[in-house]
């Protein structure tokens, strides 16, 4: 079970990194790295946590579907295998996807590209537009909605 990065073989690491890149490739247009980016991938490797078994299961599926090492497949073949994986990956792939997405969308560069400040919500918080309570006027004009009880 790959409960730590060192538990992955070199081929498994390369395949997982390649799968992350296939899921979220880099984009020049949006100025963002891929999910296989060195920094993001290191975060992914640190984040298996309670889902290590699911990661292992996906990697086994990936090996089986690839008939070899996923990372070594030609790009078109990789895309085809990734599409197959999405069909059969089930709950394990869902958990691996969560890990990849949570690491990707907390990356500084990705957050900046979304016009987000690179920080946790606390302690600064956020501003929210105040309200125009005159919007309630039609509701205020209604008779009571609750039933009287004998």
């Amino acid at each position: 079970m790959p409960d730590s990065p060192s538990a992955l073989s070199a081929d498994q690491r390369r395949s997982l990194q390649s799968l992350a890149e296939t899921m979220i490739p880099a984009s020049v247009e949006y100025g963002v790295p891929s999910a296989g980016d060195k920094v993001i991938f290191a975060d992914i490797l640190r984040s298996f946590g309670r889902d290590a078994e699911h990661v292992a299961a996906v990697l086994r599926m990936l090996d089986s579907l690839s008939g070899g090492v996923f990372a070594d497949l030609a790009p078109l073949r990789r895309d085809a295998v990734a599409a197959q994986l999405r069909e059969v990956g089930g709950q394990s792939l869902m958990y691996l996807s969560q890990i990849i997405l949570q690491c990707y969308y907390r990356d500084d560069r990705v957050m900046r590209s979304l016009d987000m400040e690179v920080r946790p919500p606390f302690p600064k918080g956020f501003e929210v537009e105040q309200s125009d309570w005159s919007l309630l006027d039609p509701v205020r004009a209604r008779p009571k909605l609750y039933r009287e009880v004998p």
Partner: protein
């Protein structure tokens, strides 16, 4: 054996905290045993960069997924699965703070609609306890809602923001009811708690302390008044003496050592699953079917609120990643109208949106967010472009929906786990369908170009009610009209298990009002409490 106490409370959540605080003025020796830990707000998810990831892990609302050593396992093979939190504050640590009251009609379901049963108490009886609880928890909102009898929240409402204003556009176009939600979130500094600063992460613990969880509301006051609270103490069973009275509890302490705690009065304040589990685990020769169970109803009539979630995507940029989850509710479809094809009704709890990770995870899970080169373009049309609502549907009590003891599953202390059997009723199914259809109308009227829904939400078993119902007839109820067991006269229950019906609103405010009401009855009847 430890020294006897006058009152022993099991559970330090919404109701346990309220009953402890209220009884403290008696100066009795009051002890609360809580299986979980004290929370550290500085360590809540929103204080770290991994705030959304933790909601999927150690702050997940499923005890099976969260799997802290203070949790107990629960079977998850039903159409609705249990959500809870174990710790000081209980479910109030892991809730949104949406804080509606019941309607007067919710206490007269049989009389008005010919289904389920009437409560042995009414809205007017609970009203002063609602008000007392509001002061302790701190409620924000706006007076004048035509859906409710008059009451006065003490703080201004949460802001609508862009998402709320968008939803209001649809509601006003349709001419349907909406109102700023009553919330247990401080919008101004309140009783030592900081005001809401829009962390956008209310459910998973409020690092600011604006959200009222009982670890920061009732418990500090109760402890100052002399109540003792012991954490990491997991109760296995309530023991009884030769007179058939509760004599105390057997529990496992933080080191896993079995202990006996004698008590003159025992108060159960778990939840409708945890309380039923303890009563059933307390079977003895004298009480072979479980404690307080001469009616055979302990564990039966389990009610959830079947939830639907309905969201729409808009062209305009919204603010779902900031601001409290809640902002407004609608009770347009709350009171019974048989022409809709079901009895009773539901509340819409409008919900702003999601943070960046949740937007990606959920959108990918439902097939809206692709892999590959188009990922980024599509993501930017989803994130900050989604808002919507939950429908909280009233579930009716049915005896086949129940909590029993799991013959196989046990917690880490070796105590049999609860086993849930639940089937969604046809009435609830029709109500969910109606809610999805009306919600879609709201979203389309507000300008949504795409709508998605899920009904029921499989992991939405947040609200647990009904497994030890109150009533005047010992053959048809577990506790009497002021929370005392019919069978064991020094045993009380104050949590959601004593609900007779579920209403169509979040239950915490009513659970706490009931706990204060039961405490008030105990105080007024001290000299004749066991008669």
């Amino acid at each position: 054996m430890t020294a006897p106490v006058d009152v022993l409370i099991i559970g330090a959540g919404a109701s346990g905290a309220a009953v402890a605080w209220s009884l403290a003025e008696t100066k009795m020796h009051i002890l609360c045993l809580e299986q979980g830990d004290w929370m550290k707000p500085s360590e809540y998810p929103s204080a770290g960069r991994d705030w959304e990831a933790r909601a999927l892990n150690d702050f997940h609302y499923s005890p099976n997924r969260r799997a802290r050593d203070t949790d107990y396992p629960i079977n998850d093979d039903n159409s609705l699965r249990i959500a809870n939190f174990n710790g000081v504050g209980g479910g109030t640590v892991l809730y949104a703070g949406h804080f509606p009251r019941f309607h007067p009609s919710d206490f007269r379901v049989r009389s008005l609609d010919g289904v389920a049963d009437d409560w042995p108490i009414d809205y007017a009886t609970l009203e002063p306890f609602y008000a007392e609880n509001d002061r302790m928890m701190g409620v924000s909102g706006l007076a004048g809602d035509p859906a409710y009898p008059p009451h006065e929240p003490m703080m201004p409402p949460l802001p609508l923001g862009k998402s709320g204003a968008t939803l209001v556009r649809g509601l006003n176009k349709l001419g349907w009811h909406w109102w700023p939600s009553d919330v247990a979130i401080a919008t101004v500094d309140y009783e030592g708690r900081g005001k809401c600063i829009n962390l956008a992460h209310c459910i998973w613990g409020c690092a600011q302390g604006a959200k009222a969880s009982t670890d920061i509301t009732y418990w500090p006051a109760a402890i100052r008044a002399g109540v003792e609270l012991r954490t990491r103490c997991r109760v296995r069973e309530i023991t009884t003496n030769q007179q058939g009275m509760a004599s105390g509890v057997v529990y496992y302490d933080a080191d896993g050592i079995e202990r006996f705690q004698p008590a003159a009065v025992v108060i159960l304040a778990g939840n409708a699953v945890g309380t039923a589990r303890i009563l059933l685990n307390s079977a003895s020769t004298r009480f072979p079917g479980g404690l307080a169970n001469s009616s055979g109803l302990v564990g039966k009539n389990l009610m959830f609120h079947p939830y639907a979630q309905i969201f729409g995507w808009f062209d305009e940029t919204l603010d779902g990643d900031r601001g409290p989850l809640d902002c407004i509710w609608s009770q347009e479809f709350y009171e019974t109208d048989r022409s809709r094809g079901f009895v009773r009704g539901y509340t819409f709890e409008f919900s702003r949106g999601q943070g960046p990770v949740m937007a990606a995870v959920h959108s990918m899970a439902i097939g809206r967010l692709p892999w590959g080169p188009d990922h980024h373009r599509v993501y930017r049309k989803l994130f900050r472009h989604r808002t919507g609502m939950f429908a909280i549907c009233e579930d009716l009590p049915e005896e086949h929906n129940r909590v029993t003891l799991d013959p196989v599953l046990k917690d880490s202390s070796g105590i049999p786990a609860p086993k849930i059997d639940y089937t969604l009723s046809e009435n609830s199914r029709r109500m969910l369908d109606h809610a999805v259809a009306r919600a879609s109308e709201i979203l389309r009227a507000a300008g949504a170009h795409d709508v998605w829904f899920e009904a029921p939400i499989p992991d939405g078993g947040w609200h647990l009610m009904g497994t030890a119902r109150m009533g005047t007839d010992p053959a048809r109820s577990v506790v009497n009209e002021w929370g005392r067991s019919h069978d064991v006269k020094n045993l009380f229950i104050v949590d959601g298990s004593i609900f007779v019906t579920a209403a169509g609103v979040n239950p915490t405010r009513t659970i706490q009002a009931l706990a204060l009401y039961v405490a008030d009855n105990i105080k007024r009847r001290l000299t004749t409490l066991f008669d």
